[in-house]
Symmetry: C2
Subunit: 516 residues, 2 copies
Amino acid sequence: MCLTPLERAAKYAVRSPRFAKVTPNHLAYFQSVLDKPCSTSQRKGKMLTDAEAIAPFNLDWMRQVQGSAPAVLMPTCTAHVSKILKYCQAERLAVVPQSGNTGIVYGSEPVHDELVLCTHLMNAKPVVSKNTMSVEVEAGVILQQCQEACAKEGLLFPLMMGSKGSSMIGGNVSTNAGGIHFARYGSMHSNVLGVEVVTAKGDVLNLMSTLRKDNAGYDLKHLFIGSEGTLGVVTRAAIQLYPYPKSKQLAMFRLMNFESVLELYQLANSHLAECLSAFEVMDGESLAMSPAKEVPYERTSKNDVFRMGRDFTSAYFCVLVETNGSNEEHDFDKLSGFVEAAQTKLGDQLSGGGQYEPILSQSASQTEQLWALREGVPVHLSSSGLIYKYDVSFPTDKFYGIVEYTREMLYRQHKMNPDEVIVVGYGHFGDGNVHLNIIDLTRSHGKQLDAALYPAVYEYCAKHDGSISAEHGVGMQKRDYLHLSRTKEAIQLMRDLKTMMDPNGILNPYKVLPLE
Amino acid sequence: MCLTPLERAAKYAVRSPRFAKVTPNHLAYFQSVLDKPCSTSQRKGKMLTDAEAIAPFNLDWMRQVQGSAPAVLMPTCTAHVSKILKYCQAERLAVVPQSGNTGIVYGSEPVHDELVLCTHLMNAKPVVSKNTMSVEVEAGVILQQCQEACAKEGLLFPLMMGSKGSSMIGGNVSTNAGGIHFARYGSMHSNVLGVEVVTAKGDVLNLMSTLRKDNAGYDLKHLFIGSEGTLGVVTRAAIQLYPYPKSKQLAMFRLMNFESVLELYQLANSHLAECLSAFEVMDGESLAMSPAKEVPYERTSKNDVFRMGRDFTSAYFCVLVETNGSNEEHDFDKLSGFVEAAQTKLGDQLSGGGQYEPILSQSASQTEQLWALREGVPVHLSSSGLIYKYDVSFPTDKFYGIVEYTREMLYRQHKMNPDEVIVVGYGHFGDGNVHLNIIDLTRSHGKQLDAALYPAVYEYCAKHDGSISAEHGVGMQKRDYLHLSRTKEAIQLMRDLKTMMDPNGILNPYKVLPLE
């Protein structure tokens, strides 16, 4: 059954009776566990119960879901986590693992009175090895700190994303985080070499390894990568690193239609191949809220943008193409050749009749400016009105269909006014990962949009070989739509796995799997 | 408990009483299933029961394990496979899935009277998409045919290995096959976008997808990649493709010691970075059996090689460095720069006092010759005597230790004669994947070697952060050593998974998981 966000909220108002309520006795036990110092760092764990101190742990990043955990448990070592989960499984106490809490699908905060198991104090200095080109890192280390530790040794950590300053490795691994360099370096399933996990039963599963090839039995780490903390808590990970790129190049293109974007992408693969590191697309409408001075060509006026969006197709598309490589001269040469080939092949589709020539960044500061345009898009959109964000994916040739569909549905079927409600699409084209955003500029159409968008957008994904979740996971937000992207046999197997590994369902309840 | 191969053979002589014997009634049922034409191709399946026809399906590639399957079932579609497995699960009939049957760990042939479920007739033409840069391919398609279908569209299939002419996609996916381009393009876990699987219970699990990013629930495909057909039968897969390289370059080096190999590898990563596609190492001893005319410099004489092997360290190391890229001029430029840097940094360690200069291949035919040297190594070794082959992996800095350890053990501890038994190491250095080979030139020390090598070699792996199986899997050959690479908690979870997904244990029994 599909619910609107409001119906869903009502449904989740019901706390599952299978879980025990946390008592002072339980808390005393947790305190006794956390008071034992970690055997390596000698640091004691912590328990927070003060209402003010635990408030931030009870709230999601989007400020939509507010839980009421009575305590936040902050272990400093795997042994703490193991003891806590063994006890919680036996006592039927619900637990939500939390690291950076930057997710946007309501996956890492309590829905009711689950205990928060917070990894913040598990943050020993990452151990980088040049020999094995890998890093071993604890769950509570901030992504950016990990990136910097690797860069110091001349190595690149493969994950890069906007939330790098606050998201943490434990969550990155548990949610199979994607980001802007996914197309080049691959997913966490590709890059995680080993993990240490505490299962929902409290068993420590040591699957740590820095080996590249290791086919000794079932590769269990994949059970914990992307299962959003519902099967186990990732406490450590070993992750593959890459040579740090010595050269970064960037070009920006303005294209007349989506077909040209697809052609440009194929040219990029052919000309840039091994050094292509990002291919980001923004439709003209998604730039409408960005300050004109940030857009490096005469931007179509807001009204023009809206008028064109009304015809369902986009006014234009803006594309950022980035290369990462080991030789600046070679990379610049490749990128110039690519731009030339694009001009020859796409002609007026690309230049707008000579009005908009491609921009080949000439300096680090220009590169920064152009990336700022892309990074500014979600920021400017969010501040313009009530926003509905969808993180979905499609085969690349179907990347833009969902934006056109949503416009048609809202403007034609639901007679909404394109001057009040705009529909935009941007995202990681190389991964087929489109961020569909609907912005209610008047902040007054929420109820109508709720009814129109749910479950229509997700149903469109199902019908067009897409996924309801590209990189952000399922959490609580998408769990009742999971059947649109997964068959009933697949969902049954997920349930069987969950039941086998977490018999009392204590770990991150209300998330990922639909209620039965 | 660890067994020598002989003890193991005795143990496996016992057929599990839990399985029913195949009766004429069973065969009649299978025939009725296979007589229904596939709904898409209209092709009927086949059943072989003639002794001569089924003989090749009963024998492993190394001709070491000989089963006695009474029938080979050859479905043409997933519906056939589903009906067969549902029936076998209900009737407690043991089944071994088989595609190319090129594995060397005794994983894909019957041990006793298991039925063979052969995928050979599931071989529709691969569907290559330039838009999504992926191929959808059935289990029975031969690897090379799949590679060629992709190459026709200007795309590279990421898996490349010696058995390409006979191994098949179903087995490639089920065993997480590695090969020579693993370091560049990654594992099957990285490259498989979707699979269709029939579970051991006979349910069809449609996880097909060409999406790059898809975080909708647990990523179940990883359960079937590398589990060697013990949890389900892969019937189809969608696999990620890459731009076909326009330029391939090759260089060969001769180095005085292992430390220099490690330094050369770090230089290669720094200079070649994104275009490095292979870094293969052969020790001097592994070239001793290759015809002198194939070795492109004055080869150390056989006796000298053996004498040096007696000192445990190698006489010398030979390294092949390959690049794949999109621009010949750039790649050649990078490779030349790398060779120059290596000469400056490694000096005499590399040139042998000016005697052996690095070779930069000048033509496609020279490249072929140099690769032939590497590919000839296992062939020449195998034909020289009784051979013991180990496919193990280590962190790169510990790559060669196992060769030195094995020499010390055999020559010092077991007083074996280095003129009769030689110990060599070669392999995929970038993946830490060393092929340790022990060759009994007299073919008379088998019993002594059995006792000396098992379980000593695998125990060495365990003690030095290595894996008992790098790329060849576990099969029947390594199952009793699995505990050396995996903790008891991990093995228990593997067992729990197996029991949950295959309650009667009918699918590929006697393989991967140790007997309890």
